[in-house]
């Protein structure tokens, strides 16, 4: 691990695709039935993304838009139907080669939405952190390992002595999410894919978790993919934002450009729906506009327009 880190230090300019990228990713789920012909769901269509160390990208979309599928393909939980997952110049497709799989699973870690379901209720926090270290063969002698766990817990701002012996049910939702982040760091993750890490937490705790992710990104030089449907938080966490709908990216670019100057009708729809204090709802209850925008955004369209440097939008006509 350290060797690779050094290599990275001496070569700060990794370029867009050098560090971690997915290229032309498609994922089709097939639903087979005894009585009906098989149906196909195109969860991802030709998605390309690149992450760089020390930077974050927000992937924004509504439920069912394919953002979690994208995360799972990137983390190697699903294999893609088409496309490549490239990490430091190596094409890794999960499950193909054992060595690749190991690289993928130690460098790329996920933090899931539900901090309650992600930890085993029958084991202590220490166990949750010790196990990934052992599975990835990063074990050190007993004393060092204890230090390593303390270090990890301190990194996520928990008191090692108190937390170590506790069980998941003795911790709050925010603390549990911190454990999940510590677990991702335990195996030396360089890329963290956080799938709606704050949506199950209280508003007042959300900021703390986002702050922690932001700190890790900056201090540990981690590449962060922040998946959310709360586009308002993207501004504070991520330098870049990509909006996904019906499995294809519809608009991407610097976060400020996407939020302040949205070009794609779906991005505009999404931004209009974000709750804003003091702006009363329109009472028309008119759904037709939203339906029209969604139908248009779901169509295949290969024409990409560059609005300003780095800010791209997929052509869409309503």
């Amino acid at each position: 691990m350290t060797g690779m880190a050094d290599e990275h230090m001496s070569k700060p300019d990794f370029g867009q695709d050098g560090f971690f990228a997915v290229q032309g990713l498609s994922k089709t789920f097939t639903k087979k039935s005894w009585f009906q012909p098989a149906s196909h769901i195109h969860a991802l269509r030709n998605v390309s993304l690149a992450l760089s160390p020390g930077r974050a990208m927000a992937l924004v979309g509504e439920s069912g838009s394919g953002k979690s599928t994208c995360a799972k393909v990137m983390a190697g939980i699903y294999g893609p139907s088409e496309g490549r997952v490239v990490y430091r110049g190596r094409n890794l497709i999960a499950g193909k080669r054992r060595a690749d799989r190991k690289v993928l699973s130690s460098a790329i870690q996920m933090v899931f939405q539900d901090p309650f379901a992600a930890l085993n209720p029958a084991h202590t926090i220490e166990h949750h952190l010790k196990r990934p270290i052992r599975l990835h063969g990063l074990e050190q002698s007993g004393l060092d390992q204890k230090d390593r766990i303390s270090e990890l817990l301190e990194l996520v701002q928990l008191d090692p002595e108190i937390t170590r012996r506790k069980y998941p049910h003795e911790l709050s939702g925010g603390q549990r999410q911190r454990i999940n982040i510590a677990r991702a760091l335990a195996v030396g993750a360089e890329v963290i894919i956080a799938d709606e890490p704050t949506s199950m937490l209280d508003v007042s705790i959300r900021l703390d978790i986002l702050k922690l992710l932001k700190q890790l990104k900056e201090e540990k030089n981690i590449a962060l993919l922040y998946i959310t449907h709360d586009i308002a938080t993207a501004r504070y966490v991520a330098e870049e934002t990509a909006v996904i709908y019906a499995g294809q990216l519809v608009e991407w670019g610097p976060t400020a450009a996407v939020i302040d100057d949205p070009q794609h009708p779906y991005t505009q729809l999404l931004l209009a729906a974000v709750p804003q204090a003091g702006v009363p709802f329109n009472q028309s209850g008119d759904r037709s506009n939203g339906d029209r925008v969604r139908a248009a955004a779901a169509l295949d369209n290969d024409r990409i327009i560059e609005i300003s440097p780095g800010h791209f939008v997929r052509d869409c006509r309503i």
């Binding site: 508003v203 900021l207 709360d230 938080t233 931004l271 729906a273 702006v279 709802f281 008119d286």
Partner: protein, 282 residues
Amino acid sequence: MNGQMTDSFPRPILSVRDLCVDYVTDAADFRAVDHVSFDIQPGEIFGLAGESGCGKSTIAYAVTRLHQPPALISKGSIHLEGQDILALDEKALCQWRWREVSMVFQNAMTALNPVITVAEQFRDVFRAHTNMRRAEIKERSCHLMDLVGIPPERLNDFPHQFSGGMRQRIAIAIALALEPKLIVMDEPTTALDVVVQQEILSEVMRLREQLGFSVLFITHDLTLMSQFCERIGVMLQGRLVELNTAHAISTAPEHDYTASLWRSIPPLRPSLERQKEMEVLL
């Protein structure tokens, strides 16, 4: 505590006075709701905001008398249209529920029965509370589905065949079945994404114009609440710490806790001043 401010209105539809709810345990009683008083006017959307564990859901359950032991209403009164809710016996309660007050829960997947069709879930409600005939029930169910914007042909589908947003619409349609005067909505859109959330709440607003029910709306999303509700109560550790119009709560919060709740919500398009503030926080 805030009784005076609603005195100018003629007659509230729901009146909660000095409500205390305790969770009785072997060790000690835990007071989840501590002397809470508020009124809801006819046709009003009233919001209760607060973090998890502040007692807002406990109030929702107390108002519908759905609270179960170890929860115990130890003090106070709840009146709906002048009727003392806490005095109702089991049988009267059965008559009263859903006809006067109905509820929409957070998770529509668990609120609907997964093994029966939507049509049957409607039928359940009408069978339990009315003596309508089959054909009438069918007609009314179709009308309700239409009201919430789902094609009535889909009545014979099962809950899992609908999207999350549609399921919540169905839950709302079922809540509207007997034209109740008050609908309690306990985090109805927390599990949904923002676009669907806005669609559903706009729909509720439209239906309220049409049917004239009141809503007790519970959520932790203060921003959303300030858009949707007319008046808001903010809860902290079982107490109602601030009660005011949505406008006052969002522009000039009086209690420190309300202000701190606002501070923890990142605005989509922050002012320069707010942006600096957020940069310090994050």
